[in-house]
Symmetry: C2
Subunit: 129 residues, 2 copies
Amino acid sequence: MLITLSPQNPTPLYRQIAEQIKNRILQGELEAHESLPSIRQLAKELTTSVITTKKAYEELEREGWIYTRAGKGSYVAPIDRSARHERLLNSLKNQFQKLITEAVDSGITPHELEKAFQEVLQRCREEEN
Amino acid sequence: MLITLSPQNPTPLYRQIAEQIKNRILQGELEAHESLPSIRQLAKELTTSVITTKKAYEELEREGWIYTRAGKGSYVAPIDRSARHERLLNSLKNQFQKLITEAVDSGITPHELEKAFQEVLQRCREEEN
DNA sequence: ATACTGTATATATAGGGTATATACAGTATG
DNA sequence: CATACTGTATATACCCTATATATACAGTAT
């Protein structure tokens, strides 16, 4: 599996690995239930340790991108796009919630909040075209 | 100046100090240009080091709550409420911007974004009453 | 049994955040 | 101009977390 690591990159190795695999899954380059390289083989290819590749896989598993069977290996998880979308929306709402309560605490009115949001969103929409 | 420090509080000492002073300025207990205790005197009162009180004051200064003159002392900055409000709104917009671009990158539509935002804001408005 | 898989534990290192002591520099005033 | 206050800068110590490692352990298949 072709993965490139930059040691001078401040993002940790395990995250670089996870990122690249995740992107391939998203791009459809890796199909559901396709087997991933074993953590040992991958570690050998990348000249890192088993623990690093393991950690990358752990992260991917936590986020639902792959699944793992002890003694067998790791496999690409089928992606349920609608469930994924749902999760993203929920996380988004949580982040909005945090921002909003914090802003209200600082004396910003709901109306101002809405205006600010619309302004940014509008700008984003214009960039789309 | 009456400031209470809890060593078992996970928030660092310098931040506890800064918080309490900031709140007093906001409450109007400290007037503009009023002089604050010297970092040495405050350190003595709180049985901490000069560096800790200094750091607290540095934070307050960075955030515009106080101003400092070398060799003289630190003083409460006059608060321009409208400018402060402006800054808060700007920071808010920046945070919205980040959330929005990230969400759009993940495939969430502007319309969904707006819906999610309205939902959270609405919930917040209801709690107000 | 063997040769693969992943897992768990204990360890080393680096970096950031917090707090410190101490020496340095600015300001006012008798 | 000496003194006694102010804030400032530097070098250091400590702790905690994140990162990366080696190595021993456990599951699976042939």
